[in-house]
Amino acid sequence: MSIDRDGRDGNGKPGGRERFRPVDHPNDHFLLTTVVGSYPKPGWLTDVRERHEADGDAVTDDEWTEAVDDASRLITGEHERAGLDVVCDGEMRREEMVEFFARRIGGYEFKGPVKVWGHNYFDKPSVVSEVSYDEPWLREEYEFTADVAERPVKVPITGPYTLATWSFDEVYDDDGALAYALADLINEEVSGLVAAGARYIQIDEPALATTPEDHAIVGECLERIVAGLPDDVRLCLHVCYGDYSQICPEIDDYPIDEFDVELANGDYEQLDVFADADFEHDLGLGVVDAHTPTVEPVAEIEANIRQGLTVVPPEQLTVSPDCGLKILPREVAYAKLENMARAARNVEADLDSGEIDPDALRAEGP
């Protein structure tokens, strides 16, 4: 495997990930391990938040800031202790993936909770005037995390199509128009993050799974997001819980470096979608289920990683959970990540020793 240490991998992609290889990495092969984003919050953080919201004197703004900083430091460290190569802070400053951004984007208003399922509600925001960029959304989160982390930091951002689709749009009256306006704002935000040092950005578009026929809108959004960004910014797109065949091969043309998918939950039934030779992005493969509290044993995760090697070569395979882990008990989330990192290292060793022949796996297919 030829490796260019200045950040280009064997395929010569400037958005490649070889630069994320830890200096003490034990194997020649490198299957980048990372997370999708959210992670269970420490119980005390929820407690402090509720007390802060109920009474600003009982828990002051400064005390709340100290608490989220502590949580961010704690979970970033927890990711590193689990052995991940690229980490984040588990989104300790965020409560919900649309609401967090809608509270920071001009033009949004909250009109009350709406049902998602059963007795679970979310504050679905309404766009009541043209959206605008007023101040950085994630700069503080990124700078703090990057400062406390020993490993490189990835920044997950809810994508413009999901932000648009999961909002009430009272203004734009067009499927794409709101998403495009939001994509321009995300471009501004990402440019700021890049200026602050971020090089690994993940755009989360779960809404695309629901309405795959809008893949062209998401493609145009991504073009707007990458406009003017340096080539060495690694852009990942995460889409979960959908029928991937509906958006392939269209995603082959997206301006991304990595496509991150949830496949462990469906026992890799959709894996053959990515066996197409035209799929040239790196594949971010979900290898632990984010919905089940059963911790997958290392051997099972190794088998899942080998599934990924039936469709892409090792230098194109990133290893991650299916999705954000925030609904799991924290000890379960940690155990899954620890087993995942261990499984990746084991598979790398097997690749190094020749016990796993990736060419043969790909020739056989899923």
Partner: protein, 333 residues
């Protein structure tokens, strides 16, 4: 021509009961409705019903629905509380960011009176009662079958079940809205159209009230629309919010039932229509179709209303009633 301001039901839970129920049952699937609620939970739903009926009365609607606060699983509710149905995985509800417990049918669907009990409670609160039920095709589409063995047998079984439920409705029910979004979103194959027609007729024949088959999220296919015109239902419903041109085309080309239901308020957007907008949409439809006189025009939101926050939901009911009032004044001039 009579104009009737009404809704397709499935309202958002009032704030007080939403919070009360979370405290009583938690947020997991174990806390959801199973037809065997505790006294405290039942009391919360009774309070929700009273509030929702009062909201409709205050808004000035001409038909009042029960509100369906208990329908945790939206249109799948009548199955989810049935003794021969198992709650399956939590799955996506149509193309929305909403989810329901997929009902897995494990035994015969005998009528159980769940809907009638709620309607009887509502009948004590209003004398303008309208029932809402899922259509047999949509309920078939939302369920998983381990009992009937074929689509045809399942559709018949569900139609018989719904007919049994509807037959038990209290006499106070004046109108029954039968919601059939699946006829648009995942339409039956051509060779199943007659079965769907017969299933709807089975429900229609079970009650001596005006039955309105309402569709939304687009327009019906032309052939399927023609088969629905062969039923004996009083009215067909059209979604003028998402597909006004396609719906008008159907009526222009093929006619419609003696009465129509028109979705003229967006059930999935917080932007509250002005009463004039409601009136304009109703007038536009009337002027666009070659029908000189409908018996009744039911003016309604296009969809269920649980997608909205409570305040927007309430404002929309007011706008709808005011818009219909405007049209009544125009028509009588």
């Amino acid at each position: 021509m009579e104009h009737v301001a009404t809704t397709a039901g499935l309202f958002p839970l009032p704030d007080a009961q939403r919070e009360r129920l979370v405290n009583l049952t938690g947020r997991g699937t174990g806390g959801l409705i199973d037809g065997d609620e505790s006294a405290d939970v039942a009391a919360a739903y009774d309070a929700a019903r009273e509030r929702l009926v009062a909201t409709q009365r205050e808004a000035g609607l001409d038909r009042v629905v029960e509100g369906h606060a208990r329908w945790d699983d939206m249109l799948a509710h009548p199955l989810c509380v049935h003794e021969n149905v198992r709650a399956g995985d939590v799955v996506r509800y149509y193309d929305n960011n909403n989810f329901y417990r997929e009902p897995v049918i494990t035994g015969p669907l005998t009528e159980d009176g769940d809907l009638a009990a709620d309607l009887s409670a509502a009948a004590r609160l209003t004398d303008r009662l309208q029932a809402v039920v899922p259509g047999p095709y949509s309920l078939t589409d939302l369920a998983r079958d381990e009992q009937y063995g074929s689509f045809a047998a399942l559709l018949n079984g569900i139609a018989d079940f719904l007919a049994g439920e509807v037959a038990a409705f209290p006499d106070a029910v004046e109108t029954v809205f039968v919601l059939e979004p699946s006829l648009v979103t995942s339409p039956p194959a051509d060779d199943a159209h007659e079965r769907v027609r017969d299933a709807l007729d089975a429900v229609n024949d079970a009650i001596d009230a005006d039955v309105v088959v309402h569709t939304y999220w687009g327009a019906l296919g032309e052939k399927l629309h023609a088969h629905l015109l062969d039923t004996d239902v009083a009215a067909l419903g059209y979604d003028l919010v998402s597909a006004h041109e396609e719906c008008v085309y159907l009526v222009q080309e093929y006619g419609t039932a003696d009465s129509v239901a028109l979705g003229v308020v967006d059930g999935q957007n917080t932007r509250v229509e002005a009463p004039e907008t409601v009136a304009d949409r109703l007038s536009w439809f009337r002027e666009s179709v070659p029908v000189s006189d409908f018996e009744t025009v039911y003016a309604a939101p296009n969809t269920e209303l649980f997608y909205l926050p409570v305040r927007a939901f309430e404002d929309k009911l007011g706008a709808l009633a005011a818009g219909v009032e405007t049209v009544r004044a125009e028509v009588s001039e």
